[in-house]
């Protein structure tokens, strides 16, 4: 089968993939995202454009993807179930496919109470697993969620989902991954890995159930920029596990940025050799310029 996207091609070929996140601006200026894109061009195989991450209003993922596509960079459309019902989500999939956006990451989404419009009504018509299933059915069977035939062109889409090895209860993390794969997730991007030992154990469990053979797992990496960010990630971002040891390393560092970078590079090197990990997903929050260095020094450049 021919690949639907560059990312799929790379993963199908058994090459180690790199994806990177690009946060769209809090405004309508296309230059802002284009500048970030220029910085990252050539350092990842595809680029996630976040969908109103942490429920803060920003330029839409869809528009960001179009801007990247115009620059010949491959986007990954992020879609959350928080802001759109099944009608809007399916419509967006059709539109994305029409505009050559061929990767999608299905998320439930951060709750609106965390964002800058906490009074908004959350939608949650469907959840991420149902979204994966709906997109797969549109793509493979040419059917809408309601069972109706799509009369004017099935969408072409490489379907992704998120997994969090650190969430509780632990047992359900693997079950939920399995459900996402069953629903149709072709690739998985994990929560950022800070606790490598825990991640290795999780991957053992993933492999023991053969799940690494049924999807492509990309492990998340986030370079810590400062003590403040470390503290925020450790204590305030739900579902993130920053071990005490990393916190201490950041606290004792004379050059916080360098320490954070070193930790990330070290993590990348460890993740690269984990059996069943087919790539890394780099989320450099407000620190995009570090991504190229990280990719180069971990031996993943050129892409």
């Amino acid at each position: 089968m021919t690949a639907r996207s560059n990312l799929e091609q790379i993963l199908n070929d058994g090459r180690f993939a790199v994806t990177a996140e690009i946060g769209p601006p809090k405004g309508a200026d296309p230059q802002k995202i284009q500048n970030k894109a220029i910085l990252l061009r050539g350092y990842a195989d595809a680029f996630n454009v976040t969908d109103n991450q942490t429920a803060v209003v920003r330029m839409s993922s869809f528009a960001g993807c179009c801007l990247l596509h115009q620059m010949n960079m491959e986007p990954i459309l992020q879609m959350t179930c928080r802001d759109k019902n099944r009608i809007a989500l399916q419509s967006e999939i059709l539109g994305a496919s029409a505009l050559d956006i061929r990767n999608v990451l299905c998320l439930t989404g951060d709750h609106q109470s965390f964002g800058n419009h906490p009074c908004a009504k959350g939608v949650y018509d469907i959840d991420s697993i149902q979204l994966i299933q709906i997109i797969k059915q549109m793509r493979d069977d040419g059917l809408f969620q309601n069972g109706e035939v799509i009369p004017a062109g099935k969408p072409i889409m490489f379907i992704g989902a998120a997994a969090n090895p650190y969430s509780e209860p632990y047992e359900l993390t693997i079950d939920r991954l399995e459900k996402k794969i069953l629903a149709g997730a072709d690739f998985i991007q994990t929560q950022s890995v800070f606790n490598v030992d825990h991640f290795l154990g999780w991957m053992d469990d993933v492999r023991s159930r053969g799940l690494d053979k049924k999807t492509h797992i990309l492990a998340g990496v986030t370079p810590l920029k400062s003590k403040k960010m470390t503290e925020r990630m450790k204590y305030h971002v739900p579902g993130v596990d920053v071990p005490d040891e990393i916190e201490q390393r950041m606290n004792n560092a004379s050059d916080e940025k360098k320490e954070g970078y070193d930790i990330a590079l070290d993590t990348m090197k460890q993740l690269k050799v984990v059996k069943g990990v087919h790539g890394v997903h780099i989320t450099a929050l407000f620190w995009e310029e570090i991504t190229p260095v990280l990719v180069k020094e971990s031996g993943l450049h050129p892409r």
Binding site: C81, R82, R86, T108, G109, H111, S113, G122, Y124, D125, I126, D127, S128, I129, Q130, Q133, I134, Q145, N164, Y166, S167, E168, P169, E171, L172, T173, D175, R176, E178, K179, L182, A183, Q191, P238, G239
Partner: protein, 220 residues
């Protein structure tokens, strides 16, 4: 039970304007919530009178959402109701509207916020249990409802943000998925969660606006 909270006295005063007012409570949910029982109505009467607002009378309906019953009960207060310019109802949003159907010239105003359908956990402690989705799925989750008790209505597992069993959206409340997990695990039925639950038919919640039980309505 339908859980309500009394509006602030300032807000009520604003709506009451100069009065005179007639007060209505409800013998069921609003009594249990202490928002519209006899005690609260008498207290409200005193508070209003202190502000020089005439209270023409009061009643606790049994319950406020019963239209035919209300007609009968309100008859004895006919004159008091006629003298009132404002009828303040301390019941749920339903009770208020049922009273509204029977009011004549007076404005019907609400003394409460209607919050949710929930359980009386302890006296004065209430927790949401149902959002009336019209398609009850609690059997899939060991009798627990993620539709109403998970802020994201996750049907296929937890969102991943829970910490020490508490919900990422409100640390004071348990993550319902943590409870579902524990329940099913203790019964050895975790495998049940592997089934992918299909999208809900929200039409059942949003489009069902009236039901008539024909077979029962014939009975005495």
């Amino acid at each position: 039970m339908i859980v309500t909270r009394q509006k602030s006295f300032e807000d009520i005063l604003k709506q009451v304007d100069k009065g005179p007012a007639f007060l209505i409570g409800c013998s069921e949910c609003a009594t249990l919530c202490h928002t519209g029982g006899e005690e609260e109505i008498i207290q409200m009467k005193m508070n209003l009178e202190q502000k020089k607002i005439i209270v023409t009378g009061w009643i606790v309906l049994d319950p406020a959402c019963h239209l035919q019953n209300n007609k009968r009960l309100l008859k004895t207060h006919h004159d008091e109701l006629l003298q009132a310019k404002k009828i303040i109802v301390f019941a749920c949003g339903n009770g208020i509207q049922t009273v509204r159907e029977l009011a004549q010239d007076a404005d019907v105003i609400t003394g409460t916020e209607t919050l949710f359908l929930g359980e009386i956990k302890h006296t004065n402690e209430f927790e949401k249990r149902c959002i009336q989705c019209g398609e009850c799925v609690v059997d899939n989750y060991s009798g627990l409802c993620p539709v109403s008790r998970c802020p994201k209505s996750m049907l296929n597992g937890p969102c991943g943000g829970a910490k020490n069993g508490c919900c990422e959206v409100d640390e004071e409340l348990e993550c319902i998925w943590d409870l579902v997990y524990k329940q099913l695990k203790s019964k050895g039925r975790l495998a049940q969660l592997k089934t992918i639950q299909k999208p809900k038919d929200w039409q059942k919640a949003t489009q069902t606006r009236r039901i008539v039980n024909h077979d029962r309505s014939q009975q005495p």
